[in-house]
């Protein structure tokens, strides 16, 4: 327990250092996430809207999940060299499949009766997408964003071994900071990840239409791919 007391003392004594590393951590994560979102959401939404490319859109996340983060960052370091941009590229590669698959599944799985009704009301394809499919798909798209945010913030900790700065700098440098420093930084990272999770959980709730919220409470959510899509598209 004394170790944890020392850890909190370390946090109190080194607020400036930890704060600046936190900002580096957030800058790295934010940059990688921004690129991944800009690339993956339009692609996933478009594919889902035309119901094409399900094999690719779903399998890219299976392969993406299989990429061990430390291995990917290391290989990136070996091939591209160390530095902020290279780690950012590795993080983007890790975040992209999560966001893409969720965006695809979300739009592809929108209740076809609702889409039919919208068409019957004379909406064009573009209007169906913007006024019907996107609002209904938003919670699930957002779930992907939330997963990616937490994943990238966690993985950015490893960036320290690849020459980019993050809170991991302290965690992997036990020689300099000793156990209290390592624990203190570990606590900071854990709190950062939990705050991000809570923030995005609240945001996800905020973008969920009330009717869908109730539905979600009734059915337990499952992680994983084919059964999820199948059940969502199946007519009653």
């Amino acid at each position: 327990m004394q170790d944890f007391v020392d850890a909190f003392r370390f946090i109190a004594d080194n607020t400036a250092l930890l704060w600046s590393l936190t900002l580096d951590h957030l800058a790295l994560s934010g940059a990688a996430l921004a690129i991944a979102l800009v690339l993956a959401i339009p692609l996933g939404v478009t594919l889902g809207h035309v119901h094409r490319g399900s094999f690719a859109a779903i399998n890219v996340s299976n392969v993406g999940r299989a990429l061990p983060s430390l291995a990917l960052i290391s290989i990136g370091v070996a091939v591209l060299g160390i530095g902020f941009v290279n780690v950012m590229v590795a993080l983007t590669v890790l975040a992209f499949p999560i966001v893409l698959t969720n965006a695809y599944v979300a739009v592809d799985g929108v209740d076809q009766d609702a889409v039919e009704a919208a068409r019957g009301m004379g909406m064009t394809g573009r209007e169906v997408l913007w006024k019907v499919e996107l609002p209904l798909a938003l919670p699930l798209i957002f779930a992907g964003v939330r997963t990616a945010v937490v994943y990238v913030i966690a993985t950015a900790t490893l960036a320290s071994v690849a020459g980019a700065h993050s809170l991991g700098d302290v965690i992997v440098d036990q020689a300099t900071y000793r156990l209290p420093g390592v624990l203190g930084a570990a606590i900071c990272v854990a709190v950062l990840a939990l705050l991000a999770e809570l923030l995005f959980a609240a945001l996800q709730r905020a973008v969920t239409p009330r009717a869908l919220r109730l539905e979600e409470r009734r059915a337990p959510v499952m992680l994983g791919d084919p059964p999820l899509t199948k059940e969502r598209t199946a007519p009653t």
Partner: protein, 240 residues
């Protein structure tokens, strides 16, 4: 500094290896074949062991919790909250936070790895059980099955695809995170990856990283095959 530098040459076997190793090419096959037996294979075996132990323990805990929550719905929320909290803590941080309790040991690594499987396995098992159609349950009860028989003969087989989907995610996650365990215990594929990061010689890093990716893909493929073998009826349903 000098004895340290002499003890750990930047490039292994400097001057004795092939031209590729001496010139530090991007990837040297002859280094891999020369060091397969003393570096890569032991690391791979340790990695598989770390993964299997974590999965077995994680599955046992999550499965028991899911069965309990399936019977008593009130348990679901607290279990999801606690396992979700564990799942959110970044791996590097969690490994270190356990060090004061279990030291720099394999136990530390396993506890952290197990804690990452719980949320996935629990949620998927429970969702699989909850997804069993009510008519099927009624039919089974009508045939005179006891509660236990209903669970093991009807509900669990029907939940199998969801359970395996969870196992696939958990397996790949553990294989990935086990590389990070190198910061608390010098075992698994993280060891050559970390060693590779400390030197300018690239082959060790790439070889170990690629092995890790290959292991994850192979394990994922194996679980898909296992699910197909265990649930022949899903293929019939799909081909319709």
């Amino acid at each position: 500094m000098i004895p340290l530098a002499a003890a750990q040459p930047v490039i292994p076997d400097f001057g004795r290896g092939s031209s590729c190793v001496r010139e530090n090419g991007t990837f040297c096959w002859d280094w891999v074949s020369a060091h397969w037996g003393d570096t890569l294979r032991p690391a791979l075996v340790q990695h598989v062991a770390l993964t299997l132990i974590a999965l077995a323990a994680g599955f046992a805990i999550a499965f028991a919790l899911a069965l309990a929550a399936h019977r008593r719905g009130r348990l679901t929320t607290p279990v999801v909250l606690v396992t979700g909290l564990l799942y959110t803590i970044p791996s590097l941080a969690l490994f270190q936070l356990l060090v004061p309790f279990t030291g720099l040991s394999r136990t530390t690594a396993e506890i952290a790895l197990v804690s990452y499987t719980l949320l996935i396995l629990f949620r998927n098992t429970l969702a699989g059980l909850a997804g069993v159609p009510e008519e099927v349950r009624d039919a089974a009860r009508g045939m005179g099955l006891t509660r236990r028989q209903l669970l093991w003969r009807v509900e669990l087989p029907l939940a199998l695809p969801a359970i395996v989907a969870g196992l696939r995610i958990a397996t790949v996650t553990v294989i990935s995170l086990a590389t990070v365990a190198v910061f608390v215990v010098n075992q698994g594929l993280g060891a050559p990856i970390y060693a590779g990061l400390q030197q300018t010689f690239k082959t060790e890093l790439i070889a170990a990283g690629a092995l890790c990716v290959a292991l994850a893909l192979a394990a994922d493929g194996l679980l898909v095959l296992m699910q197909r073998a265990l649930t022949p009826w899903t293929r019939v349903a799909r081909s319709r």
